[in-house]
């Protein structure tokens, strides 16, 4: 291994370790309310991570990942709200259910070119709320499902949670829950993408024909990428429901799917290093653009324009910026040594 690669790898581990450390101590400086806000950032990070595996690494676009979040979210809501299952156990289950739905959906949609997939996935979150309203026996209809009992409950003063000998406020517990899972899934995605599967995904992205010629089973790997990606979205949806205490057809609108895509593009498709920034962007853009204009729609105008500008000017997103900023550093370090 060249010196440069060793250095790069060390830099990555260092960045990751610093990130984990920041995530661990952050609640000490955050108010209870802010903690639950930052928990949403973790949720979006998981969703964007899943979307990036599909769009950034495999080159297949999904405009409907909010629908897989809804499937995961409703899995949790139904199990916790109707069957009193312990919330923690529903999280992996939500991932499995959403992943299974993704596999089933991918079978017909992925036989064709990327544009057909875009069309079919776009239809998914537009159609899903109606299905949720129709089968109200399971889904609570338009009202949705409230979990943790009290519907008027606003999130403040909920009983403290005891974990591993620590006592946490409920919002801090949600924060640590989402971010622990986010970090674990980040490492899992990293490992997946560094290995054989990741190489195969990238081969498909760069040229489907060349990939087929090298003996890659295209439908299998495309569907696999879609399933894994949907499973990530399912976990994100499950956590979304746990953090917001409810699931309703309005929790997962079509724009949620599009915002995830915006976050993934801003973060940088095909790289994992900008993902936190993408998630922060999704969560905090309305607040930031609210400082400039309070008009309804100002946030969406900003989002849309930034999305287009990033594609035109900065195709590699924040991750590309980081790489560009970092490479002279590593070069210099090598030269000096």
């Amino acid at each position: 291994m060249s010196q440069r690669r060793v250095l790069l790898r060390a830099a990555r581990f260092a960045a990751f370790a610093v990130g984990v450390a920041v995530v661990t101590v952050l609640p000490h400086w955050l108010s209870d309310f802010r903690a639950s806000e930052v928990a949403y950032v973790g949720v979006y990070m998981i969703g964007i991570l899943g979307l990036n595996i599909l769009t950034g690494y495999t080159g297949q676009i999904s405009l409907g990942h909010g629908a897989f979040m809804a499937i995961g979210g409703y899995t949790t809501a139904i199990l916790v709200g109707h069957h009193a299952v312990r919330d923690l156990w529903t999280i992996p289950l939500a991932g499995l259910v959403a992943g299974g739905a993704g596999l089933l959906f991918g079978l017909p949609a992925l036989r064709l070119s990327g544009l057909y997939l875009a069309l079919a996935t776009f239809a998914l979150p537009v159609a899903l709320p109606q299905v949720l309203k129709k089968f109200s026996h399971f889904t609570g209809g338009g009202q949705g499902i409230q979990i943790f009992g009290d519907p008027d409950y606003t999130g403040k003063g909920y009983e403290n949670v005891h974990v591993l000998g620590q006592t946490l406020t409920f919002n801090d517990w949600l924060y640590y829950l989402t971010w622990t899972i986010a970090v674990v899934l980040f490492v899992a995605a990293w490992a997946l993408l560094a290995g054989r599967a990741g190489r195969t995904f990238r081969a498909i992205r760069d040229s489907e024909i060349a990939a087929t010629a090298s003996g890659i089973d295209l439908p299998l790997y495309k569907t696999l990428a879609f399933g894994i990606s949907a499973a990530f979205a399912g976990v994100a949806g499950s956590l979304f429901v746990l953090v917001s205490f409810s699931a309703s057809p309005g929790s997962f609108p079509i724009v949620l799917s599009l915002y995830l895509l915006v976050g993934a593009v801003v973060a940088g498709l095909g790289s994992l290093w900008g993902i936190v920034v993408g998630a922060l962007f999704v969560q905090y853009l309305p607040a930031v653009s609210g400082h400039i204009s309070n008009h309804a729609g100002a946030a969406d105008v900003t989002r849309g324009v930034i999305l287009i500008l990033v594609v035109l000017i900065l195709p590699a997103g924040v991750a590309g910026l980081i790489r560009r900023a970092g490479s002279p550093l590593t070069n210099r370090a090598i030269r000096r040594s």
Binding site: I61, P108, L115, A123, V131, H295, R303
Partner: protein, 293 residues
Amino acid sequence: MAEFLQQVVSGLATGGIYGSLALAIVLIYRSARVINFAQGEMGMFATFIALWLIDSGWPYWWAFAATLVMAFVGGVLIERVVIRPVEGAPAVTVVIVTIGLFIALNGLAYWIWGGETRSFPSAFSTRAIRIGGVAFSIQDFGIIGVSLAAVALLFLFFRFTKVGLGLRAAAVNPAASRLVGVRVGWMLALGWGFASVLGAVSGMMVAPLVFLDPNMMRPVLLYAIAAAILGGLESPLGAVVGGLVLGVGLNLIATYVDFVGETLQLPFAFVVILGVLLVRPAGLFGRVAVRRA
């Protein structure tokens, strides 16, 4: 029987609207292998402009015509400014740009006109006329007439004018067209202009039926996508026929199949999309593409 006929006619009316928007999608797909997801929002935006003109005292048809002109110019401008730079980029990239347009136009409409629903005047009377003892709405016939007239005019333009020939040539073989002097870049821009006009027609026709708000076109876009896939993304005729079939089909199913009713119409369109992709990916009128390996 009377109810059946009424449902068929009103289905043809909504189907004509879906067909126009589907045709807009197919036009752009044929010329540049791009799906414009902002097509519906562009139509919504044009409809708001039409309402603004009508509210400032313009007669309906003058406002209608002026809106079409503005929609055309807007479509050409959008192509020149944001689509042109990603020409030839992977499909995913162009789709992301049109999603950016989708979000930005929706936000802009909220910004300018707010989110409340408004009623939009209809050019046609909602009175009923009796034909053979069955009451039909005049508005339905009007909508069918306008949608089909727009499609027919476009067909004549493509078939019998030199620019139309250039547009078709640029779609079939850009490289060869460029060699014989067709300005392919401008042809793409014109294609966006015409698609934008069709979107505006569908917006102004659907607005009296569903009320105008910034999210008005989302279900229409889904139906148009289903219509385009049903007819075959390659085929303009297929898009229109797909729209009409879908419009009538959805209406009849909503009336006669209790389980689907009004609520499951959107999911039904989704099932149509998946079903067609599964059984006959090229659609009813499309040819099966042979990919060169």
